[in-house]
């Protein structure tokens, strides 16, 4: 079985485009985390998927059959269950609330009773069965709502901010229930603002993202490895961690224990009359060639982030990725694009206008990262931080996307939100020389011709 949505378009009541999603597939048994800024249209999207709110356009593939949203609406309403952020409790007992969907199907009363009793036992709510559902606490109501949905064995469950406004114990219980729903194999989409929820619950993370004025789309889904909670074995479908061989159990975050270098060549070069900096000729060779040469021995993979002259960048045989959003938003977008494009646990970022990449850059940044147990590490020469020479852990991606999505562009501000380690490069400050003006270029060319390319003095 498969369920996929195509070409979902929706405008706001004012006529602005709310989102425009070409493809939204929901693999069987998947748990998809949907993030996005307030007003990005997460709830609207879920309601469209549930057949509750009409889109301007959408098509649905159900078991290989493609049809319009309108034609599929009844089926969506029957097979998809949407849970409100604040669940609505009918003015009945808890048991009657749970029985609601079954009772509308004209099933025999004893059969309904039995299934409701089983469902209530499953969620540990049996003792509340006869209470009026409206008298319960918010957390209990959320659990009633989950039970009420589960008893129908839906094909797809949509949870809208299920953990919002909850105290810790209610949150914990709700998380446990959602986990068990996943174990039943129910496909789930969860919207959330919480950066850690994908590690707690999700298999996949999708971000409903502002890609231009009032236009949202889903950016490429990326795999989010689940963390292993202590004592909870990883269930089924995650890619198994390769045995590290030394007998220790690694968390799945360390699955792809490689480093990918991301060369940030997506800038506008405002001070250089808009030339593509990576392709500036230094003594007859494009600057990026020097950088690739220096990086090759240091990392496992290389990705080039560029927005212009893509064909020329592709010549080097490495993946070339464009910015995932916006219009020259700067290095943070390049970092996010690079993270999206690879599956490495860590990325090393370098600018395209510093031809003298330190030979031990990756090694020293990595060491600093591990030593200080940080989320990212940044090169620090004797005078200042070199923020674009950095190593980022994959886990930062949701935070990075959220920051960009909220309009943040400043690299320092975003770094400040995370545990940052500084790697000391005070012994080779000159390696961070970058080319911003034609004079810089002449100066650097001079060093190169002096044959002192990697260790200028």
């Amino acid at each position: 079985m498969g369920l996929a949505f195509h070409r979902i378009r929706k405008h706001t009541t004012r006529g602005d485009k709310l989102f425009d999603i070409d493809e939204f597939d929901i693999p069987e048994g998947a748990c998809i985390i949907l993030s996005g800024q307030n007003g990005a249209g997460k709830t609207t999207l879920l309601k469209i998927l549930a057949g509750l709110e009409a889109p301007d356009n959408a098509e649905i593939t159900f078991d290989g059959q493609r049809r319009t949203w309108k034609a599929a609406r009844t089926r969506l309403r029957r097979e998809v269950v949407y849970l409100h952020q604040q669940p609505y409790m009918f003015d009945h007992s808890v048991a009657d609330n749970v029985a609601y969907g079954l009772s509308r199907q004209a099933l025999p009363k004893t059969h309904i009773k039995e299934r409701v009793a089983r469902a209530l036992a499953w969620s540990g709510l049996s003792h509340l069965a006869q209470r009026n559902a409206r008298e319960l606490s918010g957390g209990e109501q959320q659990r009633v709502a989950l039970t009420r949905a589960r008893v129908l064995s839906p094909r797809l469950l949509l949870l809208d901010e299920p953990l919002a406004n909850m105290d810790i114990s209610a949150r914990e219980q709700t998380i446990q229930l959602i986990r068990r729903l996943k174990e039943d194999g129910t496909s789930t989409i969860i919207t959330s603002h919480e950066p850690h929820i994908s590690r707690l619950l999700g298999d996949q993370h999708r971000h409903l993202c502002k890609t231009g004025p009032c236009r949202y789309t889903i950016i490429k889904p990326f795999l989010f490895q689940r963390s292993v909670e202590q004592g909870v074995p990883p269930s089924g479908q995650t890619t198994e961690a390769p045995d590290p061989g030394n007998g220790t159990v690694m968390t799945p975050q360390d699955n792809d224990n490689t480093v990918t270098a991301v060369i940030l060549a997506g800038g506008m070069a405002r001070r250089m009359d808009g030339v593509d900096k990576g392709l500036i000729q230094l003594n007859g060779r494009p600057m990026i060639e020097y950088i690739i040469e220096a990086l090759k021995p240091q990392v496992d993979h290389i990705v080039i982030n560029a927005n212009r002259n893509l064909e020329q960048y592709r010549r080097y045989g490495y993946p070339v990725v464009k910015d995932i959003m916006g219009d020259y938003f700067g290095p943070l977008v390049g970092m996010a694009s690079g993270l999206q494009a690879c599956s490495s646990e860590r990325i090393l970022t370098v600018p395209c206008d510093s031809p003298f990449v330190p030979p031990r850059l990756a090694e020293k940044l990595h060491a600093a990262l591990l030593e200080q147990d940080a989320e990212l590490s940044v090169a620090n020469d004797s005078e200042r931080m070199q923020p674009v020479f950095a190593m980022l852990r994959r886990q930062l991606l949701p935070s990075l996307l959220a920051y960009l999505d909220a309009g943040g562009r400043k690299i320092d501000t975003w770094y400040a939100e995370h545990k940052t380690a500084l790697a000391d490069f005070s012994d080779s400050p000159d390696t961070f020389i970058n080319i911003n003006t034609p004079e810089d270029k002449t100066f650097v060319e001079g060093i190169i011709s002096a044959g002192n390319r990697t260790q200028p003095t």
């Binding site: 057949g51 509750l52 309403r77 409100h84 604040q86 969907g101 509308r104 409206r134 009420r148």
Partner: protein, 232 residues
């Protein structure tokens, strides 16, 4: 003054002793009005639900129309229905003039707008999530509608009570359409009018007292309903 006191004393005697003529009149009143309200309620609630939950051309005009019809004078309804049902009228062949059925029709016209207006505001205020939750749990649209109506049942009951209060107390339509025939179409209000014109105040006061009592009970239950509705 002493005449008023005497009549009142007499009225209570009539009520307490269970004067059959008096109680026949009362039962006719209640039966006609109850029928009118119960017949109009289902279509009125359905219409109110559609007005509250769907968007169609002329919806606002319709809402304004019903709000205007709230002020429809009973005599105008009586006059209109009389002309329709009279021998020469377009519906004269139905032979409904001076029957209880005719009175019920008149009262339906009177209470329908009231039912629509009050239940519309109750349904309008219903939590949108109730409908969505019902539908996403697999309820057919009509099942979801009944669920939403159940959720705002106190508002709908308030509409019923207000509608009943209006038709039980009206005199114009009953008088003109029913014709005030003893033991058949004579109800509380037409009887009071008749007794007063005859100068037989005792029965009039007794009947008026019943009406007053009914109004009191209705208003008490109305405020209880509204209180419950507001609490939830």
């Amino acid at each position: 003054m002493s005449q008023l006191l005497d009549s009142t004393r007499e009225a209570f005697t009539l009520l307490v002793t269970g004067d059959p003529a008096l109680w026949t009149i009362i039962s006719i009143s209640f039966s006609v009005s109850l029928r009118a309200v119960l017949i109009s309620a289902p279509p009125a609630f359905l219409l109110a639900f559609l007005l509250a939950n769907t968007r169609f051309r002329g919806r606002r005009v319709l809402i304004s129309t019903f709000n205007t019809l709230l002020a429809l004078p009973a005599v105008v309804v009586g006059l209109t229905v009389y002309m329709l049902l009279s021998r020469n009228g377009p519906l004269g062949d139905l032979r409904l003039l001076f029957t209880q059925t005719g009175m019920v029709i008149g009262q339906i016209i009177l209470c329908f707008p009231l039912l629509v207006a009050i239940s519309h505001s109750a349904l309008q205020a219903a939590d949108r999530r109730a409908w969505e939750t019902a539908v996403t749990l697999g309820a057919r649209p009509w099942q979801a509608m009944l669920t939403v109506m159940y959720e705002v049942r106190y508002g709908l009951l308030a509409a019923l009570i207000a509608a009943f209060g209006r038709v039980i107390a009206e005199v114009g339509a009953s008088m003109m359409i029913g014709g005030n025939i003893l033991d058949y179409t004579r109800n509380i209000t037409t009887a009071i009018a008749l007794e007063t014109s005859k100068g037989a105040f005792a029965q009039g006061i007794a009947l008026g007292f019943i009406l007053l009592l009914a109004a009191l009970l209705l208003n008490i239950s109305l405020s209880v309903m509204q209180g419950k509705g507001a609490m939830r």
